[in-house]
């Protein structure tokens, strides 16, 4: 027992040597404690494919906190839309999710058509659905390859790009643009399908199916890939839904919800025989797996539509100068990245009074701070890749 006599005649304090030792140890631990490192992922970083910035606080390789900073690509489309006429706006919204531009046009055009009480002819709706699904396949093929790249395998990326090119060629054949088709018109489409499209599309769909099998062998079946993605970045279904995560990301968490089937009916999905794929796990692997199955499913849907394509015009009767009557319309659709919605308010002019765009990636990445906490630096990359966001879709 050590006794000390403090000055000023205070009572004696007995200090247990064990406690003293403990105190010394604690002090030692404080001195050994290494400070956190703040690592800036992006805005220029290959994993963020675009200009997402992620400020990550690290303890060694473990992430303590991750803070996504967005807005480097904000282009103000909602405001720009207020100063343009309806036909002009499709050019803008093409550039929101630039990998599946055609799918972006559809909900906006539908909102405008609903306000004007115009219905596109059935052939136009079929072609719209085909093009939407083609852009979904193009987007997902890129994802299937790129996810491999982020995990460290270079080869799948090239396979993905190669097969996506066939699909983009199809889109180009119809619309004249690989990335920004700007092909939708209020009341229909600019043009009919080109000659020979149906036969060509069938061959390409066969190639897509083959490509999916290839990804199944090369990536999904790879033990290292499974090790890297299984039980990494698990999104619980309820939490994902509360963050507004949608699309394949939510279906990979076991939520059987697809706006093509469960939303208000749009395009021709009701006529088709198809399946909504889900996976119970909610991890990076299941997100990859669900998208792989959805690519196949889309190819099957396109084959069905090619068989059932009705004849007729592709454009309804529409006044030369488009004025949309007063009113509001809300249309949400299942886009490749998730739920996309347009809320259009019209005051009867040639352009909308206000457009609110709900883009999928914005909500999908909002879960990142929760999702990245506690994982390792390499997992940050796989989780980012598996959530699959497009920067234009986050920042609009």
């Amino acid at each position: 027992m050590t006794t000390t006599q403090p000055p000023g005649g205070l009572p004696e304090v007995e200090i247990d040597p064990a406690a003293l030792r403990q105190l010394a140890d604690a002090r030692m631990n404080i001195e050994l404690d290494t400070g956190d490192m703040i690592l800036n992922l992006g805005p220029q970083h290959p994993a963020t494919h675009g200009t997402l910035r992620l400020v990550v606080r690290l303890d060694g390789e473990r992430v303590i906190a991750a803070d996504p900073i967005i807005g480097y690509m904000h282009r103000g489309y909602e405001k720009l839309a207020e100063y343009r006429t309806y036909p002009q706006i499709t050019t803008l919204i093409n550039r929101i999710d630039w990998l599946s531009s055609f799918a972006n046009e559809v909900p906006f055009i539908h909102a405008a058509e609903r306000l004007m009480e115009i219905e596109a002819p059935p052939r136009a709706e079929y072609i719209r659905t085909i093009l939407t699904e083609l852009s979904r396949i193009a987007t997902f093929l890129l994802f299937l390859g790129e996810m491999g790249l982020q995990v460290g395998a270079i080869t799948p990326a090239f396979y993905g790009f190669r097969d996506r090119e066939y699909v983009l060629n199809l889109i180009e054949a119809v619309t004249g643009g690989r990335f920004h088709p700007n092909f939708n018109r209020i009341g229909g489409l600019k043009d009919d399908l080109p000659w020979g499209f149906i036969a060509e599309c069938r061959t390409v769909m066969a190639k897509v199916m083959e490509s999916c099998d290839e990804f199944e062998d090369l990536v999904v079946g790879n033990p290292i890939f499974q090790q890297r993605t299984r039980s990494i970045g698990i999104i619980p279904a309820a939490l994902g839904a509360s963050y507004g995560v949608s699309g394949s990301n939510l279906r990979a968490s076991g939520v059987d919800w697809d706006l093509r089937r469960d939303g208000p009916p749009y395009l021709v999905y009701g006529d088709l025989d198809w399946k909504v794929w889900t996976h119970p796990d909610g991890d990076s692997f299941s997100r990859y797996w669900v998208r792989l199955q959805e690519t196949r499913e889309s190819a099957r849907m396109i084959l069905q539509m090619l068989d059932a394509l009705p004849a007729g015009p592709v454009m309804a009767k529409v006044p030369r100068i488009i004025k949309v009557p007063e009113g509001e319309a809300f249309v949400n659709t299942e886009n490749p990245l998730g739920e996309m919605a347009y809320y259009v308010v019209s005051k009867g002019a040639t352009g909308p009074f206000r457009v609110k765009i709900r883009s999928a990636s914005f909500s999908n990445v909002s879960i990142l701070p929760w999702l990245l906490r506690g994982c390792y630096v390499p997992d940050v990359v796989t989780i980012l890749a598996s959530l699959y966001f497009i920067l234009g879709d986050i920042d609009r």
Binding site: P46, A153, T155, R228, V377
Partner: protein, 343 residues
């Protein structure tokens, strides 16, 4: 070597020639592997052509052109870098590659220096590169480079063990650590009395060969063990701040070391330069060709894995080394030792 030329040259000339050969062999082999595997094989595996135009024939000139381009580039040094260490690091990485080639025999007399502890020496100098890597990562004063360098250090040290343990089996069986001696053993050996192909040690040391290949892959920080340079997250890790000539050094080091490890594997397990029944000057002439063919085969296996697999995470590759490779290598040594005593 000098004797093979049947000309009596002095010690100084011999040393000069040997130095030039080693100095020449590293960049040349780096170019060879880079061209064959990185530019051509990888491209064809990924259903593309790779460079086709430079030089006329399948873009053979591309890498040389790239090298010249690197020489012209500005040598950028980060403002906060530790200047001396930063400049020295690539040299150390390349130096370790040069030193390995000193002991690799390409013929009965085609060897720069046949050391009695050749295997030991080769593995020791090859692991010097980790110092260069650490220096590069630390001196760059870049967080990505630092993470990459520390990952590299942890990984190279972990895989040094299985690499050495895999070779121990060979050493036990041949009873020598001289690489020339190991090749001789394989040339003069016989499989149950049949001496047509000698006795390539891969037949008895196949476990050692597999472990050696995996560990060599990790030592080269190639996929699936390329966490230290992980391009999708660390943007090339410890070399992120290097440009121009210094970057070229790292590049040469990478492919030169790939060739050096392939040559080691070919020498230890596939018989090196040995052609059964051929010896003397004929073997001196044919030996290098035989060796290069075997090296290219081994390198093909390495690069095949490199272009196919995703990468392990840092903790997963550590687990692979400590939980699997090292115990298996130890068991291999035990079995080899028992069999050596039994027969």
């Amino acid at each position: 070597m000098s004797a093979a030329l049947a000309v009596d040259v002095g010690w100084g000339t011999t040393t000069a020639i040997k130095t030039l050969v080693v100095l020449g062999v590293v960049p040349l082999t780096a170019l060879l592997l880079g061209y064959i595997f990185l530019l051509k094989m990888m491209s064809h595996m990924q259903s593309r052509l790779g460079p086709m135009d430079p030089g006329g024939f399948h873009g053979w000139y591309q890498l040389i052109g790239d090298g010249i381009k690197f020489l012209q580039k500005e040598d950028i040094m980060p403002a906060e870098a530790d200047r001396k260490v930063f400049a020295l690091a690539p040299a150390i990485v390349v130096m370790s590659t040069f030193l390995v080639f000193v002991v690799i025999p390409a013929g009965p007399r085609m060897v720069v220096r046949d050391l009695d502890v050749g295997v030991f020496y080769a593995l020791a100098v090859s692991s010097l590169s980790v110092i260069g890597v650490l220096m590069a990562g630390w001196a760059s004063s870049n967080k990505y480079a630092l993470i990459g360098a520390l990952r590299a250090a942890a990984q190279l040290i972990a895989y040094e063990l299985p690499l050495v343990l895999a070779v121990v089996g060979v050493v036990i069986q041949t009873g020598t650590m001289s690489l020339q001696g190991i090749v001789r053993f394989q040339q003069d050996g016989a499989i149950f009395g049949f001496s047509g192909i000698g006795l390539p040690l891969i037949l008895t040391q196949f476990v050692g060969f597999a472990i050696f290949m995996v560990a060599a892959q990790a030592e080269l920080t190639q996929p699936p063990f390329d966490m230290p340079v992980a391009e999708s997250e660390l943007v090339s890790g410890y070399m992120v701040e290097y440009t121009g000539f210094r970057f070229l050094f790292f590049f040469i080091g990478e492919f030169g070391t790939a060739f050096a490890f392939s040559a080691l594997a070919a020498t230890l397990f596939l018989g090196g330069w040995s052609i059964p029944g051929v010896d003397g000057t004929a073997a001196d002439v044919l030996g290098p060709i035989v060796l290069v063919v075997k090296v290219l085969f081994v390198a093909f296996l390495m690069f095949w894995a490199r272009f196919t697999y995703p990468r392990f995470r840092e903790d997963q590759l550590q687990a692979l080394a400590w939980k699997w490779l090292i115990p298996i290598a130890l068991a291999n040594i035990l079995v080899t030792g028992v069999l050596k005593v039994a027969f």
